[in-house]
């Protein structure tokens, strides 16, 4: 890999975040195959240099083979550009995110766009982790996270109806978020969800595995595994320590076969 090729690989990775040499689930384009080939065949020294450059940008080049993670085609290699903790790359911005979210009916300001995105992101995590009783460390389980869009939108609506609307706004110190969340009509909610899913797919954090069907990407699962403890947990409201302890002790058995 010479410097020009390195630039090419760099540009591609920055845009798409994931490069697969081969995949059973989707067709890998010629350009992506070439990028993967360049990375696979790169000299150790060059590869090292590339990783150092990325490191300075707050990014980490992750290489996973079929022996490292489920869902990787046998013999194939996946390269991913993961964000390192505490060093969010300055050239990554949220402009596109804000613009796309604001295309939903009823989301008119940047604050609204950002609030909606954050809330939807937590609801997605609830779908991917909490409801499956999956530990944030469990990267391997990314393969069984697929969900259809309808399920996500319904869970958002349920959340708004069962939790948000039940809050008495007069008890809130500030009802900023409350007003933003309750301000959207049914159609607007679906549009916001669509925009959210589209952004997540575009950023390589979700995969669109079928029509209206999505699943967590390996990159998302990897970032979650590596950064959750330091980068997300401190932000979350403190859990009841005893409650957390009992949850560890409860093992969930496989679902019973469905009986009609």
């Amino acid at each position: 890999m010479n410097n020009s090729e390195m630039g090419r690989v760099h540009a591609w990775l920055l845009r798409h975040r994931i490069v697969e040499s081969r995949s059973e689930r989707r067709s890998v384009g010629k350009e992506e195959r070439e990028i993967a080939g360049l990375l696979l065949n790169a000299d150790y020294a060059v590869r090292r240099q590339f990783e150092e450059i990325l490191d300075g940008q707050g990014l980490q080049l992750v290489t996973l083979t079929s022996l490292d993670a489920k869902g990787v085609a046998s013999g194939a290699t996946v390269f991913m550009l993961a964000r390192k903790p505490d060093s969010a790359a300055p050239f990554w911005g949220t402009e596109r995110l804000v613009i796309r979210m604001m295309q939903s009916k009823g989301i008119n300001t940047e604050t609204e766009a950002r609030t909606w995105f954050t809330q939807l992101w937590f609801l997605l995590l609830d779908l991917l982790y909490t409801r499956k009783n999956r530990s944030p460390n469990a990267m391997q389980d990314w393969v069984d996270t697929s969900f259809i869009k309808e399920v996500f939108i319904d869970s958002v609506k349920d959340y708004l109806n069962d939790q948000v609307r039940k809050i008495d706004p007069s008890t809130l110190e500030t009802d900023r978020v409350y007003r933003i969340l309750t301000g959207l009509k049914e159609g607007g909610i679906a549009m916001a969800c669509n925009a959210f899913l589209e952004l997540m797919v575009d950023a390589g954090l979700l995969e669109e595995v079928g029509e209206e069907t999505y699943r967590q990407s390996l990159l998302f699962a990897y970032e979650m595994k590596n950064n959750f403890d330091r980068q997300l947990k401190p932000l979350l409201p403190a859990q009841d320590p005893f409650g957390a302890a009992t949850e560890i002790l409860v093992e969930r058995t496989d679902e019973d076969t469905e009986v009609d």
Binding site: A69, P136, N137, D229, A244
Partner: protein
């Protein structure tokens, strides 16, 4: 023996075989309950019977075992339940042939043919006129089937198979065995990785921890065998045999490919070994690092009543959100084919006619010419003007039998190379001159050159 795997896989197939669902009706599968005592006694007797018969089959090849011996062995083992009638019942079930139906594809057509199978479905055989039993061909297969379901602790045997395949120069088998080993180990490796990640649900990890010593020994042995296999493959004899085999069979496998495959087996084994060590150290520390998931939905509603500060929200979006490049970076091939270049058809260059074609003066020729006649011309010029016609008359157009008329004319047209002092003036005649030389005739305008004394 892994009966569970065998029975589990067979049960569902039997459900499908026995299904009386009408084609096209709703897809729910409702029948779940199985009839019976739900205590496994009959199965246990059957396993005992088969086990006995197998032992006999190994010692006295294909001989029959009397009922009394079977009875004795089983009552010894499970005295409380197994009466003679019960054992007799199990034997009757096992020796009853079953009829079932299946489809096979017919070569050359897309349709499938239905077959029914009744022969060779009984698991044991009885002699016609006495209570003596033995395993049937299917019964013997049953044991192999139950044995085929096994975990990585049996990988050593597969590695030996690989080694033997190399010893016997059975090259296609090398690929089969190595792929088999890698595929099985890959599953185990991914299992361990999942187990390491999701501690708290312990049943998956205990499978490994309980039999860790066994695993370690097997893996170390297997790595050793893989190493031997690699060494054997690098043997000159093996290479020779491979070349012969390749010539005779015409199969498209390279030696490097084989080599790579076996090397891969060893690498995979090393990874497996390393993961086992990781498991040990983890179990020794007792550190169960994995945490149950927090309730993210509660977090979301928490942030409704306690909104994130703008710094927190910035951080969250940058570190976790769907950020994208603020600056567009382009790949070299981004715009490939986006702009179609229309190339104009090449137009033939119009024919042009040169106004006059002058015979080129060759430098070398001119030098030769001047060397031969330069002095003569200079001498003639010293006495007065010199005409081209005069020079032709003197035969100055021939140099060593070679026609050099062009050079002669050249010297007259550009006379600066003539070795004389002073300027030379060129005068062009007005009439057409003719000179006959041998059979040919020159037709030309006469040129006169004169030396003008420098004042």
């Amino acid at each position: 023996m892994e009966w569970v795997t065998l029975i589990a896989s067979t049960l569902r197939l039997i459900d499908l075989h026995d299904s009386d669902r009408a084609y096209g009706s709703p897809p729910h599968f409702t029948r779940e309950s199985r009839t019976g005592h739900a205590d496994g006694v009959y199965l246990d007797i059957a396993f005992q019977v088969i086990h006995r018969l197998k032992l006999l089959d190994q010692s006295a090849n294909q001989d029959y075992l009397p009922l009394s011996t079977i009875l004795y062995a089983i009552q010894d083992d499970i005295p409380e339940v197994a009466g003679e009638a019960d054992v007799q019942y199990v034997l009757n079930v096992l020796r009853r042939p079953a009829e079932f139906f299946y489809l096979t594809s017919v070569a050359g057509t897309s349709s499938k043919a239905c077959h029914s199978e009744k022969r060779e479905t009984a698991l044991i055989e009885k002699t016609d006129f006495a209570d003596e039993y033995r395993l049937s061909a299917s019964g013997r297969m049953l044991l192999s089937l139950a044995n085929a379901a096994r975990d990585a602790t049996y990988i050593r045997g597969d590695a030996y198979n690989l080694l033997h395949a190399i010893e016997f120069n059975d090259f296609p088998k090398i690929l089969t065995f190595s792929d088999g080993i890698v595929a099985q180990l890959r599953n185990e490796i991914l299992e361990i990785r999942s187990a390491l990640e999701r501690v708290g649900r312990t049943e998956s990890i205990d499978k490994y921890l309980d039999r860790l010593d066994q695993y370690r020994k097997v893996v170390e042995d297997t790595i050793d065998i893989a190493r031997q296999a690699e060494a054997k493959l690098e043997n000159a004899e093996t290479l020779e045999a491979f070349e012969q085999w390749q010539d005779s069979s015409g199969v498209d496998i390279t030696f490097e490919h084989l080599h790579h495959k076996i090397n891969h087996v060893r690498q995979v084994l090393l990874i497996f070994n390393r993961l086992l060590s990781e498991l040990v150290s983890m179990s020794l520390q007792g550190a169960r690092s994995a945490v149950p998931p927090p309730s993210f939905i509660d977090a979301a509603s928490h942030f409704v009543s306690h909104p994130l500060t703008s710094q927190q929200s910035d951080f969250l979006l940058a570190q976790w959100g769907a950020t994208s490049l603020a600056t567009p970076f382009h790949s070299v091939l981004d715009g490939l084919g986006a702009v179609k270049l229309r190339t104009k058809a090449e137009q033939p260059a119009p024919l042009t006619f040169a106004e006059e074609e002058v015979e080129p003066v060759s430098q070398l020729g001119k030098a030769r010419f001047l060397e031969r006649y330069g002095q003569d011309i200079a001498a003639a010029l010293a006495t007065g003007p010199l005409c081209l016609s005069e020079a032709i008359e003197r035969g100055w157009f021939l140099v060593d039998q070679e026609m050099m008329l062009g050079d002669l004319v050249g010297v007259f047209a550009a006379p600066s190379s003539i070795p004389v002092a002073g300027r030379i003036m060129i005068g062009v005649g007005t009439s057409l001159d003719t000179k006959s030389v041998g059979l040919d005739e020159f037709l030309f305008t006469d040129i006169e050159i004169t030396v003008v004394e420098v004042a």
